[in-house]
């Protein structure tokens, strides 16, 4: 988790975000894939709208996690706001692995809060480190970002269809790159998700 956070911090600064902007993404947005998408798209010269749209679609799975966790946590008001903020891949995954609701609750909060603290701490360190670096290519940071996306997508490729969809998406995005403004090639691939997901 630590180095993952540091990788994000470095990616943010490399993409032209200030240290504060990079840290705010970890504090407020707090969802790794969406954060990497925001800095990736803005860094490539995309518009804020396409960055927000892509991050929002990526974050929709957190809504499904919330749906899953709500009947277990049973929280209202400010507690629901705090629980919502730490509803991410890791906290939900740990909760799902437990045997009963008491342990699920404990697992969810312990993981969510733990990840939040470390993720933010290391985002700051990564951002600080990267801001001391001149040309990102010299340190290989230009390859670290696509490698991070590989690491994020890899565990999601669970069958042959997923690999086909992934390859189709890469092809479509690359075809659109010379033709459309930055950011558009990414968000357009959602059409592929709809087409491939429509029928069983």
């Amino acid at each position: 988790m630590g180095l993952y956070g540091a990788a994000f911090g470095a990616a943010g600064v490399t993409a032209g975000f200030s240290i504060i902007q990079t840290c705010l993404l970890s504090l407020l947005l707090f969802s790794g894939a969406s954060q990497f998408a925001v800095v990736g798209i803005m860094g490539a010269g995309g518009s804020a709208v396409s960055a927000i749209a892509t991050a929002t679609l990526l974050g929709f799975r957190n809504a499904l996690y919330g749906l899953q966790m709500a009947p277990i946590l049973k929280v209202k008001g400010i507690k629901r706001i705090l629980a919502a903020q730490i509803t991410i891949d890791e906290s939900t995954a740990v909760a799902t692995l437990q045997e009963n609701d008491t342990d699920r609750k404990r697992g969810f909060y312990a993981t969510g809060i733990g990840v939040y603290v470390f993720w933010n701490m290391f985002t700051f360190l990564g951002a600080l480190g990267a801001s001391a670096i001149g040309n990102p290519s010299v340190w290989g940071l230009d390859a670290a970002v696509p490698a991070a996306f590989c690491g994020l997508v890899w565990p999601r490729l669970k069958n042959k269809t997923h690999f086909i969809v992934s390859a189709a998406s890469i092809s479509l995005a690359l075809i659109l790159t010379p033709l459309t403004p930055a950011g558009i090639p990414i968000i357009t691939t959602v059409l592929l998700a709809v087409i491939f997901g429509w029928k069983k």
């Binding site: 180095l3 993952y4 990788a7 993404l25 407020l28 947005l29 998408a37 990736g40 803005m42 490539a44 010269g45 804020a48 927000i52 991050a55 929002t56 679609l57 990526l58 799975r61 957190n62 809504a63 499904l64 919330g66 749906l67 709500a70 629980a83 919502a84 903020q85 509803t87 290519s137 340190w139 290989g140 230009d142 390859a143 670290a144 696509p146 490698a147 991070a148 690491g151 997508v153 999601r156 490729l157 997923h162 992934s166 390859a167 189709a168 998406s169 890469i170 479509l172 995005a173 690359l174 790159t177 010379p178 930055a182 090639p185 990414i186 691939t189 959602v190 998700a193 491939f196 997901g197």
Partner: protein, 102 residues
């Protein structure tokens, strides 16, 4: 306000809405098979597209450079079930080595 600030604040806001929405709506709202199938594919297409663009795009041109070697090494590392930091760092080292030596 700069585009980056708009992106930071806007994406943070919608991210929270996503999370809070899930905690607050009745389960049947989102419990539709088609919707779930599409939602499983959404991160796959977006993250894959980001891999492609971040590897090959230089503004609006498609180029092959040191990044491709880095990503290739990352994929090999993933194939061998390497943890995330190893994947990212091995890619960075490969890319930096090619950039600095050639």
């Amino acid at each position: 306000m700069s585009q980056i600030w708009i992106a930071v604040i806007g994406a943070s806001f919608t991210a929270f809405l996503n999370k809070y929405f899930g905690h607050s709506v009745p389960e049947k709202w989102l419990d539709r098979p088609r919707f779930k199938r599409i939602n499983t594919l959404v991160p796959i297409v977006l993250l894959s597209a980001l891999v492609g663009v971040q590897t090959f795009a230089d503004k609006k041109d498609l180029v092959i450079d040191q990044r491709l070697a880095g990503v290739g090494v990352a994929l090999v590392a993933l194939k061998f079930k390497a943890p995330f930091p190893v994947v990212v760092i091995s890619a960075a080292i490969t890319s930096a080595a090619i950039y600095n030596w050639f």
